[in-house]
């Protein structure tokens, strides 16, 4: 038996134990198990593990649900444990939904006071700079590549002192390349880079913004690069790329939704 067929067989055995197979494939496995006692023993062991897991935890699903977990009760609560502000988020989403106008409409309606505005300018400025510097890199566009995504998220979360999540944009045609740590004017920043099949690159820039809470999306453009940027809780974000504004807005919306999930 070649190494490859043995690997396939093991996956098939797991699928059999977990009830993932159609009847026809199930019968094939059962036939195989009749002639391979070692595999049969393994399958038996895994089935007993599954039974033990069920015995340990299934009864919890039969318990009466505590009052504090009833959705009707939770929905009535005005504030949450994390104190996130729903109205600001709803406003951000609403403005996004308004389409292209969202970016500049946000300014008069939800614009922060002047000092924060200055910080905002530096955020998007730094995001533009980082985008220009690293997207042209051929050999080292990122410091840690996408196949170490978990490590990348952990590392940057530690440096930014808040859980950093890395959105996936595969559904929009952009694959994660990886990310890097960057110096920003007020501490460490993170940059994640994505690329589509035509080699177009976009970057998501994240930096800690103490004292910030929530803003709507804002739009900026510089030397052919479009950017949407916003603040959400302790982190500020800027998504930049040389893609048209509507595409970038769609991507920004996806990023925002995933970060909020």
């Amino acid at each position: 038996m070649s190494k490859e067929t043995r690997t396939i067989a093991e996956e098939q055995l797991h699928a059999y134990v977990d009830g993932q197979l159609a009847a026809e494939d199930r019968q094939k496995i059962e036939e195989h198990l009749r002639h391979h006692p070692a595999d049969a023993a393994r399958v038996n062991e895994w089935q007993r593990q599954n039974e033990a897991i069920q015995a340990l935890f299934a009864p919890i699903g039969e318990e009466t649900v505590p009052e504090r977990l009833r959705p009707a009760v939770l929905a009535r609560k005005k504030t949450s444990r994390h104190g996130r502000r729903w109205p600001a988020m709803a406003a951000a989403l609403l403005l996004l939904a308004l389409g292209g106008a969202g970016g500049w409409l946000a300014r008069p309606l939800f614009g922060p006071p002047a000092p924060a505005g200055i910080q905002q300018a530096s955020l998007v400025e730094e995001a533009f700079n980082a985008h220009r510097i690293y997207t042209v890199e051929v050999l080292h566009p990122v410091e840690v590549t996408a196949n170490e995504k978990a490590h990348l998220a952990k590392w940057l979360s530690k440096r930014l002192r808040d859980p950093v999540r890395i959105p996936t944009l595969d559904g929009e045609g952009f694959a994660l390349m990886g990310g890097r740590l960057l110096p920003a004017s007020n501490g460490p920043a993170a940059q994640f880079m994505y690329e589509d099949k035509n080699g177009r690159r976009i970057t998501l820039y994240t930096v800690r913004r103490d004292g910030g809470n929530q803003t709507a999306f804002r739009y900026a453009r510089e030397n052919g690069i479009n950017a949407f940027y916003w603040i959400d809780g302790p982190l500020a974000y800027a998504l930049a790329g040389e893609v048209n504004r509507a595409t970038l807005q769609r991507l920004a919306r996806s990023v925002y939704a995933q970060l909020e999930e």
Binding site: Q49, L56, L74, A90
Partner: protein, 168 residues
């Protein structure tokens, strides 16, 4: 505010509590995780756009667990006995000592392996659904399940690892 959404959420709570318990192992903490998940889901209901509510809720729960709960669990000494005593109907047909061994072995699994195994073995999700909830390819999911089972087997056959308090 249509009540259909809240009803759908409510129907998922027993499964969310069960899965949360298998992740954090301690009852109150598990319910805290579920509460955070539900509050977030209710707050973000506008972001839920398509498909059934249940996988979306599981995704939220997993993300909260990854970001906020696993360190809590490591920091506290998890009272494994509680996890075993809490079920309303104590299992009759299984040897209690063997279950204690299994529980200790489950507690010793790396979080990513436990996340994967429990979605499939406890919650009965298909590999594709579980992969989507955990945001990993099916191949990765299966290799985590495979490693989890090998580890459970290795630990289940021997004495509990030294770093865990024995359950008596």
């Amino acid at each position: 505010m249509d009540d259909g959404f809240l009803d759908e959420v409510e129907a998922c709570i027993p499964a969310l509590r069960r899965y949360a318990r298998s992740l954090v192992l301690e009852g109150e903490l598990a319910d805290d995780l579920v509460q955070d998940c539900l509050e977030r889901a209710i707050r973000k209901r506008r972001l839920w756009r398509r498909g059934p509510v249940q996988p979306w809720l599981f995704r939220i729960l997993v993300n909260l667990f990854r970001n906020h709960y696993r360190n809590t669990r490591r920091r506290n000494e998890t009272p494994f006995e509680e996890a075993l005593h809490a079920p309303a109907q104590p299992p009759q047909q299984h040897d209690r000592l063997a279950l204690n061994d299994t529980l200790n072995a489950i507690a010793a699994l790396p979080d990513e392996q436990r996340e994967a195994l429990m979605l499939v073995a406890l919650e009965g999700f298909s590999y594709a659904e579980a992969g989507a909830i955990l945001d990993i390819p099916v191949g990765t999911l299966m290799s985590r399940i495979g490693r989890a089972r090998r580890k459970l087997r290795a630990e289940g056959n021997g004495s509990p690892p030294a770093h865990l308090r024995p359950v008596s």
